[in-house]
């Protein structure tokens, strides 16, 4: 059973569809990156995953059940701007978390904030952006959920704070064996920590799967201009110059053509290739029409 499963899920705001027909799954114990351009539907997908919104079509399940009611303790969420009550002190915020969650780890939360050097008597509004992010993430971790969803956890943070936030999150993940879904529009900052990818563009899940497998399956073929080489592969993207043709392909077997060279791709190049080719879709299940 996947920690998170989208089955043809869609979300409509009024008449506009923010997401349509999305198929994707995040297996348990994975750290999944939710990647896509601004306005692609990342936040909408996360709202579905944490139960802030109900799917307008299809189904969203967390550990096999909808993210509502009795299933709420299993999902934690940190929204984009790390909303916390600014008038509360850090200690009061922890108290609120303890009151709102039956499994809340008050001691752990206090210790983590002490380790991070965040004064608990200070009001949330007096904290720096990085400290506030740390408090929000600490609260989400202390909820002792099994799936933690973070919307742009690193946005608006300086490089040092980014590093600290990520480190803190990963240590919590290692301790508790959490499943994580975190979003960003910067692929590079996720490549190091994530092992699963969901690529969203124009309101659809375009690619979903294990990052290693995905990267291993894709090749950049470079060869003479004109006809592509013989072989078993799907072309995702193509760029032509006068002298040479470059193909981004998902290979199903080797390419036997001495004039062509196959290069491995980075995750970032693969993501860019898919974003340039919005019609290419690679998800656990094909989008049913």
């Amino acid at each position: 059973m996947n920690a998170l499963e989208l089955t043809g899920a869609g979300l409509r705001y009024g008449r506009t569809w923010a997401l349509r027909g999305c198929f994707a799954g995040v297996p348990q114990g994975r750290v999944a990156a939710l990647v896509g351009p601004n306005g692609a539907g990342k936040s909408s997908l996360m709202r579905l995953a944490v139960g802030l919104r109900r799917a307008s079509e299809g189904e969203v399940t967390v550990f096999g059940r909808p993210p509502r009611g009795a299933n709420l303790p299993r999902v934690a969420f940190v929204a984009q701007d790390k909303p916390l009550y600014p008038e509360l002190t850090v200690a009061e915020t922890i108290r609120a978390g303890a009151g709102l969650n039956p499994n809340f780890d008050t001691q752990g939360a206090r210790k983590r904030l002490d380790d991070l050097g965040i004064p608990q008597r200070r009001r949330v509004r007096q904290l720096s952006g990085g400290q506030r992010a740390q408090v929000a993430i600490t609260l989400a971790v202390a909820k002792r959920a099994d799936l933690i969803v973070l919307d742009e956890p690193l946005a608006n943070l300086d490089p040092l704070a980014r590093h600290e936030v990520m480190e803190g999150l990963m240590s919590a993940v290692a301790e508790r064996g959490l499943t994580v879904l975190l979003s960003s529009h910067v692929v590079a900052e996720l490549a190091e920590v994530c092992d699963h990818l969901i690529l969203v563009s124009r309101g659809r899940v375009q690619v979903a799967g294990d990052i290693e497998e995905l990267v291993a399956a894709h090749r950049l073929l470079v060869g003479p201009a004109g006809e592509p080489p013989a072989g078993s592969y799907d072309v995702i993207g193509r760029s032509d110059t006068e002298r040479q043709t470059t193909l981004l392909v998902r290979a199903r077997g080797p390419v036997h053509d001495p004039r062509w060279t196959a290069r491995e791709l980075s995750l970032e190049d693969m993501v860019l290739g898919y974003l340039r080719a919005p019609d290419a879709v690679l998800t656990p299940r094909p989008v049913a029409l």
Binding site: L52, R53, L72, Y85, A96, G97
Partner: protein
């Protein structure tokens, strides 16, 4: 989660203490200068407006505006269980304030006017709070909700005044009957508006 709801109402509790202090001031003046007796009672209709604008209208709109509903609604409890203490705290605060202000006015006056007897001040307070909460849930903007609830309560007060006069004139209802009917109607409307706000929060799904 009652503690959080009460903690979030701290500033509003101070505001309500100021409201009570204001009326205490009016009453003190009335006791010192009997010639001005009646100010505190004549200002009483503004009390429901205060409840609607300062307690009702911000209740949910502030959560939406600051995005904190995304925090509150992704903890382990349902939205209904989050909403109940919020509304409960606001209602308790409004009722206590109304009780104190009413007591002050009644202490100052020899004859208590009908709108200050029985349950009527309390049902009006609940109605105003409910209207503010309803607009808060619908508009999700504090300023808009404040404006809508101010004019909403003021309009309802004018309508109630008209209906009261007509019922007394044409049906010959005594003040006691009138008061009972008015209390029942305002309490019923308050319940309906609270239910409407609850529906918006839990059913309309405004993540």
């Amino acid at each position: 989660m009652t503690w959080l709801a009460i903690r979030q109402h701290r500033v509003r509790m101070i505001s309500m203490a100021c409201v009570v202090a204001l009326w205490a001031g009016f009453v003190a003046v009335e006791r010192l200068y009997p010639g001005v007796r009646g100010i505190s009672a004549s200002l009483f209709p503004y009390l429901p407006l205060v409840m609607a604008v300062f307690l009702g209208a911000p209740l949910l709109a502030r959560e939406y505006e600051r995005g904190t509903h995304q925090f509150a609604w992704t903890q382990s409890i349902s939205r209904s269980r989050w909403l109940a203490p919020q509304v409960g705290t606001a209602a308790a605060l409004a009722l206590v304030t109304t009780g104190l202000v009413t007591a002050l006015i009644c202490w100052s006056l020899r004859t208590v006017p009908p709108e200050l007897t029985g349950l009527l001040p309390f049902t009006w307070t609940l109605f105003a709070l409910a209207l503010g909460t309803f607009w808060s849930a619908v508009t999700r903007r504090t300023t808009v909700a404040m404006g809508a609830s101010f004019f909403g309560v003021a309009a309802c007060q004018l309508i109630a005044e008209g209906l009261r006069n007509r019922a007394a004139r044409e049906l010959g209802w005594t003040p006691a009957t009138l008061g009972a009917v008015e209390a029942a109607i305002t309490a019923g409307l308050a319940g309906a508006l609270f239910a409407g706000a609850w529906w918006f929060v839990t059913r309309r799904d405004p993540g």
